[in-house]
C-alpha cells in the first residue's frame, strides 16, 4: 500500500465528475422536481378553490330554488284567489242568468197558456157555432142532441 500517481488521477476524475454533475445533471433533475412540486401545489390550490366555488354555487342554487319555490307558492295562491273569484263571479252570473231564463220561460209559459186558452176558446166557439148550425139545420132529436152534446163536451 502506497500513495502514488493514482491519487492525482483520481482527484482529476473526481473533479470532472463533480463538474459534470453540477453542469448537466443536478439542475435538470431538481428543476423538473421543483416544477412538479409547483404544479402539484397549483393543482391542490385549484382543487380547493373549485371546492369552495362549488359550495358557494350550491348555496346560491339552494337560495334560487327556495326563492323560486316561494314565488311559485305565491303564484299558486294568487291563482287560487283568482280562480275563486272567477268561480264566484261565474256562479253569480249563472244564477242571474238562470233566474233570467226561468223568468223568460215563465213568461213564455204564461204567454203560451194565454195563447192556448185563446185558441181553445176560439175553437170552442167555432165548434159551438158549428154545433149550433148543425142543430139548427136538422130536426130536433133528444137522442141525436145528446150525442152531439157529448161530442161537444169531448171536443172542449
Amino acid at each position: 500500500m502506497n500513495i502514488n500517481l493514482t491519487l492525482i488521477v483520481q482527484m482529476i476524475v473526481f473533479a470532472l465528475l463533480v463538474f459534470g454533475t453540477m453542469r448537466w445533471i443536478w439542475p435538470h433533475i431538481l428543476d423538473a422536481m421543483e416544477e412538479r412540486e409547483r404544479k402539484i401545489a397549483q393543482g391542490l390550490a385549484a382543487a380547493e378553490k373549485g371546492e369552495q366555488e362549488l359550495t358557494e354555487a350550491r348555496g346560491k342554487a339552494e337560495a334560487i330554488v327556495r326563492e323560486a319555490r316561494e314565488r311559485a307558492n305565491q303564484i299558486i295562491e294568487h291563482a287560487q284567489h283568482l280562480a275563486n273569484d272567477l268561480v264566484e263571479q261565474a256562479k253569480g252570473a249563472a244564477s242571474s242568468e238562470a233566474a233570467r231564463i226561468v223568468a223568460g220561460a215563465q213568461q213564455q209559459i204564461q204567454l203560451d197558456t194565454t195563447r192556448a186558452k185563446d185558441s181553445l176558446r176560439r175553437e170552442v166557439a167555432g165548434i159551438a157555432v158549428g154545433a149550433a148550425s148543425k142543430l139548427l139545420g136538422r130536426e130536433i132529436d133528444a137522442r141525436t142532441h145528446a150525442d152531439l152534446l157529448d161530442q161537444l163536451a169531448a171536443q172542449v
Binding site: 500513495i3 465528475l17 448537466w24
Partner: protein, 288 residues
C-alpha cells in the same frame, strides 16, 4: 474458483490474501509515496463506475419531465431528493456546488463499495484469464482513491473558508479558538495552544474521512477473503468427508451473512462521507 487460484500459486491462505492485496500497477513502488507508480485497476474501475453513475443520471436528467415520472426517473429522484434534504438540513448558505458534490460523493462511493459485493475471486480470475496478474476491483480499498476524495473536499474547505471569512478570519479561527480570554497577554499565550488544537482538528478531517472509508471497506474485503480462504486449496475430493461439507456450508452461510450485513456498511459509509463533507463545507461557510 478459490481452489483453482490457490492451486496455481500452490500457496496457503497468507499468500492467497497477500495476492489479493496487490494492485495492478505499472511498476513496483519504492517507499510509501511514489508518484511514478499508478494503479491501473483503481483508475479503471473508478472511471467505469463514474461513467455508470454519470450516464444513468445524465440520461434521466436529459429527459427529466415535470409530469408523472417513469420508474427510472422516480428512482433517481428519490436519491436526488434524499441528498437534497441532507444538504438543506445541514447547509444554510447558497452554493451551486455543494449539493451536486454531495450527490456525486454519495453515488460514486456507493458504487466503489458495491464492488465489494462482487465475489472476491470473480473479476481477479477473469483478469488472470486476460493476462493480468493482480486486480483489485474495489476502488475504496485503495487509499489513493479515498484520499483523492477527501483531499479534494479538503481543498474545497480551505477555498470556501478563505472566500467566506477572508484570510484574517480564517487565521483567527485557528488562533482565537477554542480558548478565548479578554486579557490580551493571556490570549497571546493561548494562541499557540489554540493553533495546535485547531490545526490537528483541521488536518484530521480529510485524514479521518479517507481512513474511515478505506478502513471499513478494507476490513470488509478482508472478511470476504478470509471466508473464501476457508475452503482454500480443497478440491472436490474434500466433499467425500464430513469436514469438507461442513467447511463448504460454513463458507456459504458466513459469506451470505456477511454480504447481507455489508449492504448496510457500504451504504452507511457512502452516507457518512457525504454528510461529513456537507458538515465541513457548511462550517467553512459559517462565521463563528
Amino acid at each position: 474458483m478459490t481452489g483453482m487460484a490457490a492451486a496455481e500459486k500452490s500457496g496457503g491462505a497468507t499468500e492467497y490474501i497477500l495476492h489479493h492485496q496487490a494492485f495492478l500497477s505499472n511498476r513496483q513502488a519504492h517507499g510509501i509515496v511514489d508518484f511514478t507508480v499508478i494503479n491501473y485497476d483503481t483508475v479503471f474501475f473508478s472511471v467505469v463506475l463514474a461513467l455508470v453513475f454519470f450516464v444513468l443520471f445524465w440520461l434521466v436528467a436529459r429527459k427529466a419531465s415535470s409530469g408523472v415520472p417513469g420508474r427510472v426517473q422516480n428512482f433517481i429522484e428519490i436519491i436526488v431528493k434524499f441528498v437534497d434534504t441532507q444538504v438543506r438540513d445541514t447547509f444554510h448558505g447558497t452554493s451551486r456546488l455543494i449539493a451536486p458534490l454531495a450527490l456525486t460523493i454519495f453515488c460514486w462511493i456507493f458504487l466503489f463499495n458495491f464492488m465489494d459485493l462482487v465475489p472476491v475471486d470473480l473479476l481477479p480470475a477473469a483478469g488472470r484469464g486476460a493476462g493480468f496478474e493482480h486486480l483489485k476491483v474495489v476502488p475504496s480499498t485503495d487509499l489513493n482513491a479515498t484520499f483523492a476524495l477527501s483531499l479534494t473536499v479538503f481543498i474545497l474547505i480551505i477555498f470556501y473558508s478563505l472566500k467566506m471569512k477572508g484570510f484574517v478570519g480564517f487565521i483567527s479561527e485557528f488562533t482565537l479558538q477554542p480558548f478565548r480570554v479578554r486579557n490580551v497577554f493571556a490570549q497571546a499565550l493561548l494562541v499557540p495552544v489554540n493553533l495546535i488544537l485547531e490545526s490537528v482538528t483541521f488536518v484530521a478531517r480529510p485524514i479521518s474521512l479517507a481512513l474511515r472509508l478505506y478502513g471499513n471497506l478494507y476490513a470488509g474485503e478482508m472478511i470476504f477473503l478470509l471466508l473464501a480462504a476457508l475452503t482454500l486449496s480443497r478440491g472436490l475430493a474434500s466433499l467425500a468427508t464430513v469436514g469438507g461439507w461442513l467447511g463448504l456450508i460454513a463458507q456459504i452461510a458466513l459469506a451470505l451473512a456477511w454480504s447481507i450485513f455489508h449492504i448496510l456498511v457500504i451504504v452507511l459509509q457512502a452516507f457518512i462521507f457525504m454528510v461529513l463533507t456537507i458538515v465541513y463545507l457548511s462550517m467553512a461557510h459559517e462565521h463563528h
